[in-house]
């Protein structure tokens, strides 16, 4: 999996705007606008009614909307796409079904305005009428690149992302992982975020401790909690 990837799980429905840095993998259902500064993969079960803008777009699911990529668009076998394609590099594989207008000019310009908006925008929620018991929290606060936001609701109390505050620009505490009853607008994607299941442990944990001096929130690496401090010391000694 990509180093920093957000996943819209299969039981998830999002109606709204998705914007983010990094890569996105969509397995569920999205209606709205998707603007990502990385790669977007729409998996086989994805159902998308949205205009998509990204660096690279790979489609294996069904999309009705305009696809615009700065680098490339690939329509793989089994996909069904209706809408314009705009990218300098394009491949439509045998078994893909496509209908629409193709323009091989560069697309996918995620504007500066969009990313600036992203920075200051607090986490907003999307509605998900059909989320089968899973939180549709594509929540994010920080659009900040390094913020490994973990909106996993199964985690215990502190919902704060184990961010590296030194580098995070607009780190905000995560709201409750419950669905926010707000009207759908923009959802900023976390740099790293798994919407469904327990996140994996990352090596960022020790780094955070040294950077911030704050106690790293337990939920992320509970097993390492004690060891973390030890690791920090070692790092400090440069041994």
């Amino acid at each position: 999996m990509a180093d920093s990837e957000a996943i819209i799980g299969q039981g998830t429905f999002i109606r709204g705007n998705l914007r983010g840095e990094g890569d996105l993998c969509v397995v569920g259902h999205v209606e709205g606008v998707i603007e990502v500064r990385g790669q977007v993969i729409f998996e086989e079960t994805s159902i998308i009614q949205a205009d998509v803008t990204a660096e690279r777009i790979i489609v294996r699911g069904a999309i009705a909307g305009e696809l615009s990529a700065k680098e490339s668009i690939v329509l793989e076998e089994g996909c069904r796409v209706v809408g314009g394609l705009r990218a300098p590099r394009l491949r439509i594989e045998p078994g893909a079904l496509y209908r629409g207008r193709i323009d091989m000019m560069e697309g996918g310009a995620v504007t500066a305005a969009a990313s600036a908006k992203q920075q200051s925008r607090p986490a907003v929620q999307a509605t998900q009428p059909s989320a089968a018991g899973r939180s549709a929290s594509v929540v994010a606060s920080a659009p900040a690149r390094p913020a490994p936001a973990r909106p996993a609701p199964s985690r215990t109390a502190p919902n704060r992302p184990p961010a590296r505050p030194a580098r995070a620009q607009a780190v905000q505490p995560l709201p409750e992982p419950e669905v926010q009853p707000q009207p759908a607008s923009s959802v900023a994607l976390p740099r790293v975020g798994r919407i469904r299941s327990a996140p994996a442990v990352t090596e960022s944990a020790p780094v955070q401790a040294s950077d911030s001096g704050d106690v790293p929130p337990p939920p992320v690496v509970p097993a390492l909690k004690k060891k973390t401090k030890g690791a920090v010391r070692k790092r400090g000694d440069a041994s």
């Binding site: 009614q49 999309i63 069904r80 394009l90 491949r91 893909a96 209908r99 629409g100």
Partner: protein, 121 residues
């Protein structure tokens, strides 16, 4: 029907230049240049280096060279890596390799899943 008409394959070599219409049965590969409409029952291939300017009606269509004109295919339409394709394409399905340069509007018959059938384009 003559035996050789059953598997008829015609080739318009690279040294050939045609100004006018081409019609008929069987498959046709163009390696040269055609200025005019092509209407055949078999498959149509625009080979690398070939240039066709005119509308094409055929079963399957493969473009490896230059084709400017509308395509009406009952079979698949494919643009290879070196292709340059411009026009309206109607066929069973449209596929293209990376490296092809296309400026097309594609029409193919298939349905989106019901959740997305808000209005077929």
């Amino acid at each position: 029907m003559r035996k050789d008409e059953l598997e008829a394959a015609s080739t318009l070599g690279s040294g050939i230049s045609i100004q006018g219409r081409i019609m008929g049965e069987g498959n046709l590969t163009v390696e040269g240049s055609v200025e005019g409409d092509v209407t055949i029952q078999g498959d149509f291939v625009v080979a690398a280096g070939a240039r066709v300017h005119g509308s094409v009606e055929a079963h399957g269509v493969v473009v490896e060279g230059d084709l400017e004109g509308d395509i009406l295919a009952t079979g698949p339409v494919h643009a290879g890596a070196g292709a340059s394709l411009r026009g309206n394409v109607k066929g069973q399905a449209f596929t293209m390799e990376e490296g092809a340069t296309v400026s097309v509007t594609v029409d193919a018959d298939f349905d989106l899943p019901p959740e997305l059938q808000g209005g077929r384009e």
